[in-house]
């Protein structure tokens, strides 16, 4: 059975959230979701859209606008006439911007795909551990007595020596092992 980290979708009453902390959390999450939806709508349908959202507790204001917040706000408030969109230079600017947005979206989709793969890998690793016929040293250390701990210590030290022996030509940067993944560079996604 998988352990649930989140409570999942729940029904919410459409009244102002009472608890101040919940309110802040709700605002954070929903605002993030809202902006994500705005961005997707723009990408999928090519619409121009502006959203302005004031933060609770006077923490400022969030705004999203495509192509830009100010341009659309000015247009809506009638303070300037919409630009004629048929001159070549303007079209070039628009085309270049759309191109870079397209690239960014591709990069984002790619990343999310790789992340999903890694998440799945994490799941299967978790399963492997759950199903493993646990030898005594694989138990949490809180459950081991002093004798076992010292035993394990010896064993680990021996193993460590074996590992260090296996990599004799490595330069000093690898020892002591500073950080996991230090010698591993993910090759299939952009930095």
């Amino acid at each position: 059975m998988t352990t649930r980290i989140n409570k999942g979708r729940q029904r919410v009453d459409m009244v102002k959230t009472k608890n101040a902390r919940n309110l802040q959390v709700t605002f954070s999450k929903r605002r993030a979701g809202l902006l994500k939806n705005d961005s997707e709508l723009c990408t999928l349908c090519g619409t121009e859209i502006v959203i302005v959202v004031f933060s609770p507790s006077d923490k400022g204001v969030f705004s999203f606008g495509h192509p830009s917040v100010n341009l659309l706000v000015e247009r809506f408030l009638g303070r300037n006439l919409p630009q004629p969109n048929n001159d070549v230079h303007n079209q070039q600017i628009v085309a270049r911007r759309e191109g870079s947005i397209r690239e960014l979206n591709n990069k984002l989709m790619n990343l999310e795909g790789v992340f999903q793969m890694e998440k799945n890998r994490g799941e299967s690793l978790r399963e492997i551990r759950k199903r493993a016929n646990g030898l005594w040293w694989e138990s949490p250390m809180e459950e081991l007595n002093l004798f076992q701990l010292q035993h394990l210590k010896k064993r680990l030290e021996i193993l460590k020596q074996k590992v260090e022996k296996e990599a004799p030509m490595v330069n000093n940067n690898a020892f002591p092992f500073q950080t996991i993944g230090g010698a591993w560079i993910p090759s299939n996604f952009a930095s």
Partner: protein, 245 residues
């Protein structure tokens, strides 16, 4: 609503795009409204539709004008602090996704190398590991060693102060844990459990039969034997009744 992965690209099919637009626009307006109500905040949304000359506005034209006027009254810096457009917003999302990915990869790597470490503890070889694997394996071993050292210190320190029940529980757990590989991971057991299982692995039987003053312990098929240093133990000779005074 289907939970299919959305392809983040302009929908070229006109009718599909129009349908998506209508659905998403409706959903978006609803979400803005909910956000405003649930959090008691002012907001507005203006969507310029490619199918209409006039934009769709939430809450309404007057309300939006009011909100925007207030927005414009704020100092320039306040306005731009959290302002984003498509490009900057997607860049932010990319940064966040990268972070998530890095974290998950690191976690997976650690899990993976922990498995390798457990294999190594049974005496299996380290032949098929490349330099990166060895580095990460070493790191995981170091982490575990650190924890073992800490636990040893803690147990030694707590040996005099720990209550008899917790020491007994630890010993009982130890007896259960040293038993041969079971179906489930060994867990802390309650007192009164049969200390010894009938089935024994080879090394455990060997150990039991060996002279108590000169302990040899073998693991699986490994040809190395290690002689644990028992000098700093309290009563290590009798197994598994290791109670600490």
């Amino acid at each position: 609503m289907t939970r299919k992965k959305v392809k983040l690209a302009f929908i070229t099919n006109d009718s599909a795009r129009k349908a998506t637009f209508k659905k998403r626009k409706k959903g978006l307006m609803k979400k803005v409204s909910e956000l405003s109500t649930l959090c008691g905040i002012e907001a507005c949304a203006i969507i310029y539709s490619p199918y209409d000359t006039s934009p769709e506005v939430w809450p309404n034209t007057m309300g939006a004008q009011r909100v925007l006027a207030e927005f414009k009254r704020m100092p320039e810096m306040e306005q731009s602090k959290k302002m984003v457009n498509q490009e900057s917003f997607i860049r932010q999302r990319i940064a966040k996704a990268s972070e998530q990915l890095k974290k998950q990869s690191k976690e997976n790597r650690e899990k993976e190398m922990t498995e390798v470490m457990y294999q190594g503890l049974t005496g299996k070889g380290l032949q098929n590991l490349n330099l990166g694997d060895l580095n990460d394996l070493g790191w995981v071993i170091d982490q575990n060693l650190k924890e073992v050292y800490k636990r040893i210190e803690a147990v030694k320190k707590g040996a005099s102060t720990s209550s008899s029940s917790s020491a007994a529980a630890a010993a009982a757990a130890a007896s259960q844990a040293v038993a041969p590989p079971m179906e489930q991971k060994p867990a802390v057991v309650e007192l009164g459990l049969d200390p010894m299982q009938r089935t024994q692995t080879e090394w455990f039987t060997d150990w039991m039969n060996s002279n108590t003053s000169d302990q040899h312990i073998g693991y699986g098929h490994a040809d190395e034997m290690i002689l644990p240093n028992f000098n700093d133990n309290h009563n290590a000779n009798v197994w598994p009744n290791n109670f600490y005074p």
